[in-house]
Symmetry: C2
Subunit: 333 residues, 2 copies
DNA sequence: CTGTTAGCGCTTTCAC
DNA sequence: GTGAAAGCGCTAACAG
């Protein structure tokens, strides 16, 4: 790398001032067509590219945003990320992808580092911070959108799924099939969606006149392995369970494996419902009944909303609540 | 956002020069212990954070890197990305994640935008650019590491898997099981790994004295759906095939589905081997025999190598070639 | 239409 | 030990 071409280089070559070059670069008017052409020619010939760094220092805009997720190798998040990246690319933005790995301290440090990098905004997906930490960390950011969690303030955008309704739908489906002993593998304790889905689950039971049994609910990590472990525990403690509603599809696949180990047949000896409808759920055997979630849209819309806010939109840049849909497959027909 | 605290603010409050604050912030010596403490106290009290933007403008270092992949929602790439992000985080770097979506033009534009953002380096995973475009696009970057593709120059780092050996291993395994009519679903035509795996496939056949049949090789997109389609085509044209080596696990799962449609039993009526060993391959039914690839390590090591190069390492910052390993499961026991 | 001046927030160099 | 001056590459505000 010898020397990066600067505006001064172009200006010298074109025998104009730096300001004139700046005007051409930014397509501002108030420039004679001939100068513009001459400068543009030189820009092209020299292969000049403006330094976004220098520009950012004065405009206070970087053309970057941060996307904070739990774990990009989880198919759910990688699909959300794809949605974000897709609209970011279309708008000329670049996105910093950061994994919190379920660690609130790490999440805090990430938010800090993104602020240090002067991102124009952040998208926080499934944050595991408590309200106080969340709001203080977000105070350093001019714009933010929360996915899968309400913000409690109009300062922060939100992109939500009606998780409670999803839990309700799933549980009702199980009840309609005659199940009354239905367990819930509830996901991480700090997960807002996990709590909401639990609300829907309980509402469906109550509506059906089935008494709630707290011991049928069990927290778990949102990964296959822990799904298997917790299912084994739950079924060992409560063999009477005839159905299981799972926090997400990964956990549900874990439950599937547990049943295989136990020789318990699905759906006859245990019906299982997952959540998210990741591609995997259609590919396992038996295939998974699940609640569809608009993963890609959650991401793309979150980015749209963030952009709207960055560009000064206030009222009509509305938050969105998506509705889940039950996808019926073999594990709970 | 009212007003971001700057060094000048701290300097004023501490009644020292900006330079002194800078020294404290950067831990440089040549400062009395008392001044250092006093300044540090004020930094903490004011919550001052240095502007990486301003710093970058003078140091020419941004603490950011670009990661370019085909599609982050492909489990292979999302795992590579996790590896990259993990070591980046540990070293205080942030990573821009970009999807090319198999589009060379888009890949070119992405590389351009990353250069505009002054990233300290880029990691290009499974680039689909031809050599000329690749090298001209990389000329704008001070440091680069290629994953899954040789660079042909010591200027650019490389992180490789011995793909030919993987193809050889897989094919040999099938031959050892008595197969002689073995097809190859070869992946995208511009894929370097696809070509290499093909080389290994052919070598194994030749060694076994089995004549090569080009019509048994078929390009395909590296996704489930196209795997299904191309398998249906291939089996319809060549029903004599008794085994199939697939570019990656997604294609192999696609082949699995094709067989289900056809009522062709696996592995008895068609043996299938995939590549990469993504989590999915152990979860489908029948489970997939495949070539394991060190996805996370490919990412983490690529980032380590890039950092070494950024930090001025020249000779002993060596490229790495990983060895694949055959993972035998049900689809080709 | 075009140029000049100032300054974004920091580090580098050199002086004291 | 500490500070003053200059400048990284650009844009905003005002002149002319």
């Amino acid at each position: 790398m010898s020397h990066r071409i600067t505006m001064a280089d172009v200006a010298r070559e074109a025998e104009v001032s730096v300001m004139t070059v700046s005007r051409v670069v930014n397509g501002k008017d108030g420039i004679s067509i001939t100068t513009r052409q001459r400068v543009q020619e030189i820009i092209d010939r020299l292969g000049y590219r403006p330094s976004t760094l220098a520009r950012s220092l004065v405009t206070d805009r970087t053309g970057t945003v941060g996307l904070v997720v739990i774990d990009n190798s989880n198919p759910y998040f990688s699909e959300v990320a794809r949605g974000v990246e897709h609209v970011a690319y279309a708008e000329g933005y670049n996105v910093f992808l950061c994994n919190t790995e379920e660690d609130p301290q790490r999440e805090l440090r990430i938010l800090q580092s993104l602020s240090d990098k002067h991102v124009d905004g952040v998208i926080l997906c499934s944050s595991r911070l408590d309200d106080a930490d969340l709001h203080s960390a977000l105070a350093a950011h001019s714009h933010a959108v929360l996915v899968n969690r309400p913000s409690g303030t109009t300062e922060i955008g939100e992109m939500l799924l009606d998780d409670a309704y999803g839990g309700y739908l799933a549980t009702k489906h199980l009840i309609a099939s005659g199940h009354r002993a239905i367990g819930y593998l509830a996901g991480p304790t700090q997960s807002f969606s996990g709590a909401q889905r639990g609300t829907g689950y309980r509402q469906a039971l109550t509506e059906a006149g089935i008494p709630l049994r707290p011991e049928w609910e069990q927290a778990c990590l949102p990964v296959v392995e822990n799904g298997t472990e917790k299912t084994l525990e739950l079924l060992s403690d409560h063999p009477e369970l005839s159905a299981l509603f799972c926090y997400n599809d990964l956990v549900a696949v874990g439950a599937l494996k547990a049943c295989q180990q136990l020789g318990r047949r699905i759906p006859d000896e245990l019906a299982i419902i997952g959540f998210d409808d990741i591609p995997l759920s259609a590919l396992v055997n038996p295939s998974l009944t699940t609640c569809w979630s608009p993963k890609y849209e959650l991401g793309s819309q979150a980015m749209e909303l963030l952009l709207a806010r960055i560009n000064g939109c206030t009222d009509d840049c509305t938050n969105v609540i998506f509705q889940p849909e039950l996808v019926i497959r073999e594990s709970a027909p």
